[in-house]
């Protein structure tokens, strides 16, 4: 990547912001975001991540992106996963082991039904708009 000028930085920001907000890059409108800080990984986030990959692959879903992020702050219920599905409010699931990951794919993403006992509140409103 070439060095950015001021103008190019602005342009890049606009582009990337649209991508993040629309979340419809390359026709992928479902996002699974796994918290992969040290705590999350210690609690098994890597296994969770792999379980999502496997389950989505097996279900033949092509509209799902799986991404990593840092710590969401809910250390008591790691691994944590945010699930964003069109027409559904985005929610954070906690204590997501590979088994729960499978249920999230089958019920939440495919069936559009939320799963009991694993949703946690997002800790704060986003200050960046």
């Amino acid at each position: 990547m070439a060095k950015l000028t001021l103008e190019e930085l602005k342009k890049l920001r606009e582009e990337k912001r649209k991508e993040l907000n629309n979340r419809r890059t390359e026709g992928k409108d479902v996002q699974v975001i796994v918290g992969m800080g040290t705590c999350g990984i210690a609690a098994g986030a890597k296994d969770t991540f792999d379980a999502f990959l496997k389950e989505i692959d097996q279900s033949g879903l092509t509209n799902v992106t799986i991404r990593q992020t840092g710590c969401m702050g809910l250390c008591h219920s790691e691994p944590t996963v945010e699930v964003i599905v069109p027409d559904m409010p985005s929610v954070v699931y906690g204590n997501v082991n590979p088994d729960v990951a499978q249920r999230i794919v089958r019920k939440h993403i495919v069936g559009k039904i939320m799963i009991n006992d694993h949703i946690f509140d997002k800790p704060a409103a986003d200050i960046i708009k």
């Binding site: 705590c39 990984i41 250390c75 790691e78």
Partner: protein, 185 residues
């Protein structure tokens, strides 16, 4: 090496440390470790940068698992610093080791949250299972146990790590299983 040691005499405050060095670092007979060409290259790259000693020692320990006696001499030589400074730095910082640890390093967190949630019991139980206490290596060279200050996973307390892999919410009766998982692999 003689010239290097003469250098120390002027540094009166550091003489005592050199004497200790000769007795506490592993004896040369049992320690034929040498800097590898890669390590020498790493040292050559860092040499012009001021304040390089700690970064070099990190790299050396990453390779050997500890700072072998002969290697400490080589590092001092290559970086052109008194051996006593190398020894001073190695012994000041908890992370640097003069003794070879086990093939699997078990680090039991004794940060506050883990301490309150039974970190001490974990160490005692490991002692039962492995037959050696803190900062010692099992006779087969497989395991060593150390107590560390906060692995930064307080939400999962009590925690321990084996060669950097963190296990959280550890219960006493899971320890045998955790040890078995690594043994002989």
């Amino acid at each position: 090496m003689l010239s290097l040691e003469i250098q120390f005499i002027s540094l009166t405050t550091e003489i005592a440390e050199v004497l200790i060095l000769n007795t506490t670092m592993e004896k040369p007979a049992a320690d034929d470790k040498k800097l590898t060409p890669e390590l020498k290259e790493f040292i050559r790259q860092w040499k012009p940068k001021p304040g390089n000693l700690i970064m070099v020692l990190h790299r050396v320990q990453e390779h050997f698992g500890y700072i072998p006696r002969n290697v400490a001499f080589e590092v001092a030589d290559l970086l052109d610093v008194p051996l006593a400074r190398v020894y001073g730095v190695v012994t000041f910082y908890h992370l640097f080791k003069l003794k070879k640890p086990g093939r699997f390093k078990i680090a039991v967190c004794m940060g506050t949250a883990c301490y309150l949630k039974g970190g001490e019991d974990i160490i005692k139980e490991l002692e039962n299972i492995l037959g050696v206490g803190l900062n010692a290596v099992t006779p087969d060279g497989e395991f060593s146990v150390e107590a560390v200050r906060c692995l930064g996973c307080c939400g999962l307390a009590p925690v321990l790590s084996v060669n950097g892999e963190v296990h959280g919410n550890v219960k006493k009766d899971q320890l045998a299983e955790i040890v078995a998982k690594y043994k002989g692999t």
